[in-house]
Every structure is written in C-alpha cells, then in structure tokens.
Assembly symmetry: C2
Homo-oligomer: 124 residues x 2
DNA sequence: ATTAGTGTTATAGTGACTTAAGACACCGCA
DNA sequence: TGCGGTGTCTTAAGTCACTATAACACTAAT
C-alpha cells in the first residue's frame, strides 16, 4: 500500500548499528561514533540517538563510559547474530513467505527475480 | 532484537483486509464487516477501525454506502496486487535479502529450512 | 586549571495514534 | 412511522516518538 509503515527512528538507528557490528564495521571493544556524531549523521535529535544507545546498552551490545564514549561489548556480535537468527526464523521468514504466497510467488521466482536485478545496483 | 516495532493498529487492520480480499475471502462488490463488527473483532476502538476504512477508501479499495456498509470496489484486487508487487520488489525483498546476508544465509538455505519446518504448523 | 570532547539528565512542546463516549445522517424493513 | 442496522463526525483525554534547549558529570589533553 501507500502507507508509511515506518519503525521508530531510534529503533532503526539501533538496528543500523547492529548491522555495522555484524558486518565488521565496528569490532568488539572499539568505540562507536558519539551520540552527537550519530545524531548529526542521521539528522536526528540527540535524544533520539541516545535512546538508540540505551536500547543497545540494555541488550549488552554497547558499553558506556562517561567521558570516553560507547564501545562494542564483548560477545556483542554473537549475541546479535543469535537474536537475529531467532527473530528471522520465527517472524521475518514466516511473514515474508505469507506475503510472497499472497502475491502468487514462489522462492524460485524470487531467486530468479533477484539474480536478474542483481546487476542493476542503480538507485535513484 | 526485542523491541516492539509495531505498525499502527489501523494500518495493520487495513492490510489484513487487503489480505482477505487477495485470498478471496471478500469478493469484489461484496460487503465487508461493519466498522463496529471489525472494531469488536480486533478488540479496537470504533475510530481506529474507521481510520482503516478511510485508508482503503482513499486508495479505491472500498466503497462506502451510508446506511448500507462498505463494499469491495471494482478492480480492488488488481490494484492491491499491483501495489503489493511494487512494494515487495522495491522494498521488502531487498530488505529481506540484506538481513539474510547479514546472517550468512542464502536463498537455498531458506528454501531448505522452510521445507523442513513446513510440516510443523505448531504455534503456541 | 582550562578546554573540548565524551555520556547523562531534565523540561517543554508538537504531532500521530488510540481510546472513550456521544451524537448525527442514512438505509431497509416491519 | 419507528426501529435497528449502517457510516460519519465531534470532543476529550492519554500515550508515545520526536524535537528543542539547557544543564550537569566525567575524561583526556593542553
């Protein structure tokens, strides 16, 4: 449809940080950008960036050190991977398959479609 | 992660109605449940159910007839299918593939996993 | 000690979403 | 006509996400 369907900003930012940890952009023990840098990068209020950090602190993904910065916790990558796998298999995959089937598509169709569009990395 | 990530209620209800139109539960020209019935079914306020209907009216999915009810518009199914396909190919599929790759999975893995869990329709 | 960079807390305002309750307008049927 | 079912509108209140400011606490470097 044409709706917004947007997740909360601070959640998207947190997920993006997790993506970057998974992809090795931020290694364990390393410092991630400061609240203010992140807020500027995503053109968002400091409070919103802070809420993203609070989320990741609660899940033991980030460690906060006053005056220093936020660092990636030990085992963060493994924890993210584990949580993601669970979420993926229990919710994302079933939802994806359900919506796919409502469109009359199969996984094979998807695979073909994806390979076809794979070369066209053009985004406006 | 463990966040809520919930879409707005009225949007989920609208999407659910579209699902039911796609799956043939409501054929074109037929009446969908009344605002009050829908509100009761989803345990939601009447206004919330009404907003779902307003959304579908704006997209020419439903036709409202005062004193009668809301009926599925002509061509609604086709319009939904078209919009869904576009949304699916442009956003859902890329997002899905991105998250899949971050987990180190491939479409073949998914296909196997899905067939394996297919027989187990157990939900708690 | 000063400075500039960190994280943290507090207050206030806006807008979207939801609930609640009531009222109104229209249609079909007895 | 009256009744009960539709859709629609209004008003009020509450929650939540986001913004905007400002202030505070800590650390490292000068």
């Amino acid at each position: 449809m044409i709706y917004h369907n947007e997740k909360a900003l601070f959640i998207k930012i947190a997920e993006r940080l997790c993506d970057d940890i998974l992809s090795g952009c931020y290694t364990e023990g390393a410092l991630v950008p400061s609240v203010r840098e992140l807020a500027a990068e995503y053109e968002v209020n400091i409070n919103t960036a802070l809420r993203a950090f609070e989320l990741l602190q609660r899940d033991n993904i980030l460690l906060s050190q006053r005056g220093i910065g936020m660092s990636v916790a030990k085992g963060a990558r493994k924890r993210i991977l584990s949580a993601r796998r669970k979420e993926f298999l229990q919710h994302e995959l079933p939802d994806f398959m359900r919506r796919m089937e409502l469109l009359g598509l199969t996984l094979d169709d998807i695979a073909r479609e994806w390979r076809a569009q794979d070369g066209m990395e053009k985004v406006s």
